[in-house]
């Protein structure tokens, strides 16, 4: 596989993407809502405006199931501090896995389906770029912007959390911490790659962008299971869990890439021209 050919496809798509605000706008708006508005309005403000003596509600289970190291971190904290700590550090962690998936879903859905709709696919497939180079190029153009958005969202989220934590924890800044750094730079990329790979496989096999996007929404289900698992206390994003998930997703990514290249057939792509 020639990496420069994959990078060529990436550069071409990236140029096109930058000039298409209908695609780029949702990519930036949705993560901003997840990283700044949602935590500020729904959860963190509630934690800041904490009424002493109020029950922890559903979060009590999360607190109870936290790893022992995290339980130690909560020792000596007031109820308000504990609530804020759990919500900001643990509750939002899996939600950040949705951001790269959402950001990449629009671009990945458009990868081949969009080229079919715009009738540019035939000339692209006629070039001496191999299937794996084409597939990797399309992955990169979804992966790189989605990771930029994810890291940017993480920076915004860290700022929002730290603004509140300075008040609640008397000047202490909670983020970034080690788990979140591993989550953002280790788990989020591997989860994103799996989602992107599957979406691109779908995009190559359907007629249009909308169809690809509708089907790719299904990919959010496993991540939503992690979110609900976290909320219910069944899964806690401690270091061991995050490390195990990274390992599992690396395997899944490699498998998806191999399957994707094997399933990629120019016949199939051209037969689905809109």
């Amino acid at each position: 596989m020639r990496i420069q050919k994959a990078m060529l496809v990436f550069r071409k798509d990236w140029r096109e993407l930058r000039r298409n605000w209908q695609v780029t706008l949702p990519i930036f708006i949705m993560p901003f809502m997840f990283s700044a508005l949602l935590p500020s309005l729904v959860v963190l403000i509630r934690a800041v405006a904490f009424v002493p003596g109020a029950p922890l509600g559903g979060l009590a289970t999360v607190v109870k199931n936290l790893p022992s190291q995290a339980q130690n971190e909560l020792a000596g904290l007031t109820d308000q501090q504990a609530l804020f700590y759990v919500v900001s550090i643990y509750f939002f962690a899996p939600i950040f896995l949705i951001i790269p998936l959402m950001a990449s879903s629009v671009i990945a859905s458009d990868s081949f389906a969009g080229e079919k709709e715009r009738r540019t696919i035939e000339a692209l497939l006629a070039t001496p770029i191999s299937d794996s180079e084409l597939f990797l190029g399309k992955i990169l153009v979804s992966f790189i912007p989605s990771m930029i958005v994810t890291v940017a969202s993480f920076l915004i989220y860290s700022t929002v959390v730290d603004v509140f934590s300075r008040t609640i924890f008397n000047g202490r800044l909670l983020l970034p911490n080690v788990i979140w750094i591993i989550l953002i730079f280790g788990l989020a990329p591997t989860v994103a790659l799996a989602g992107i790979g599957l979406t691109i496989i779908i995009s190559a096999r359907v007629k249009g962008f909308r169809e690809a996007q509708q089907i790719s929404v299904i990919l959010l289900i496993p991540i939503l299971i992690l979110v609900f698992g976290q909320v219910s206390g069944a899964i806690i994003f401690g270091p061991e869990v995050v490390a195990a998930l990274i390992g599992a997703f690396v395997g899944v990514d490699l498998l998806i890439f191999r399957i994707g290249v094997r399933l990629f057939r120019r016949d199939e792509v051209l037969s689905k021209l809109a």
Binding site: Q4, K5, L8, R11, K12, R15, E16, R19, N20, R118, R119, T120, I121, E122, A123, L124, L125, A126, T127, P128, I129, S130, R266, D267, L270, S271
Partner: protein, 319 residues
């Protein structure tokens, strides 16, 4: 079917077949295209022309049969085939949000022009040739249909391919642009000796440009040959057009009296006679003599050949 032995084959197809479910789009096509030849693929819509080009360009694989392009097997060396082939697809297939230059630059690099300076000089040369240099920084979306077609052809030859597959290059163009494209194809063939497979349903293009052509219908080959050979398949009596300065009944009767003349008709212009004969060589001098003897003045005498269109329609209908 007319068959000729080729000296060097640039493209060879043997029993090429493509099925889409129960539909057989291309049905056991066998043909060869010689190096430097312009070979036409003619046929009505849905005849299987585009599918044939797609198989030869390794865009789709055949259900049966085999093909070689430039000596490379299309099923085993698809990357090599794509490297030596330039293709103009049915529609321009250009990136509308990219500029003219960016489109050319992407495809030039994709086709292996990795040196930036070499790429830039080749693109400049082509844009100059196609009179697109002034538009190089404009987005493709802003170009006219004719300009897009020119750009798509420029893209097809950006890597100097020895073999070109052109799918309906003049469709949808105004007469001036269509002529420009035809001149270009003529130039690519005559001056640059490229092998060209021209897929068209415009008989005018085929007649002007192709050394040989194949008519396909419902995926099957109907005939392969030169335009002349295709015309000769029309089994009709030879015709003679006699243009006169004036016309009267005496002249018509005098022509009718010629031994080899079967029928005489007056054309709309009223001073032209269309004479159906048995034998052109024997009838022509006698017709002229009789017209003169009847007091007529002959301006010109020409045999009327059946048009390629007539031959085409007859062959396609016969299938």
């Amino acid at each position: 079917m007319v068959r000729k032995v080729s000296i060097v084959s640039a493209v060879q197809a043997a029993g090429l077949t493509k099925r889409f479910g129960s539909l057989t789009a291309v049905d056991h096509l066998s043909f060869e295209i010689r190096e430097g030849e312009v070979f036409g693929l003619l046929g009505p819509n849905g005849a299987g022309k585009t599918t044939t080009i797609r198989m030869l360009a390794c865009l789709i694989s055949p259900s049966e049969g085999s093909a070689s392009v430039g000596g490379y097997d299309t099923s085993k060396d698809s990357l090599k085939v794509r490297e030596i082939v330039g293709i103009l697809t049915e529609n321009p297939s250009l990136y509308e949000k990219l500029t003219v230059y960016e489109n050319m630059d992407f495809f030039a690099e994709a086709y292996g022009l990795s040196d930036a300076q070499e790429r830039s000089s080749r693109i400049r040369e082509l844009l100059e040739f196609f009179r697109l240099r002034d538009r190089k920084n404009e987005k493709v979306a802003k170009l006219s249909k004719g300009m897009k077609q020119k750009l798509a052809i420029a893209r097809a030859i950006v890597h100097n391919p020895p073999i070109l597959f052109l799918d309906e290059p003049t469709t949808g163009l105004d007469p001036e642009s269509a002529k420009g494209i035809r001149d270009l194809i003529e130039g690519l063939s005559a001056q640059e000796k490229r092998t060209i497979l021209l897929c068209t349903h415009r008989l005018e293009d085929a007649e002007k440009l192709c050394n040989r052509m194949m008519i396909v219908n419902k995926g099957k080959s109907v005939i392969v040959g030169t335009a002349e050979q295709l015309r000769s398949t029309i089994d009709s009596a030879p015709l003679l057009r006699v243009v006169l300065k004036g016309m009267n009944q005496r002249i018509i009767e005098a022509v009718r009296g010629v031994r080899h003349v079967r029928d005489v008709n007056v054309e709309n212009s009223a001073s032209n006679l269309i004479v159906t004969v048995d034998d052109l060589a024997a009838a022509t001098p006698e017709v002229v003599r009789n017209v003169v003897q009847a007091g007529g003045e002959v301006l010109s005498v020409n045999p009327i050949q059946p048009s390629l269109e007539e031959a085409y329609l007859k062959l396609v209908k016969a299938e």
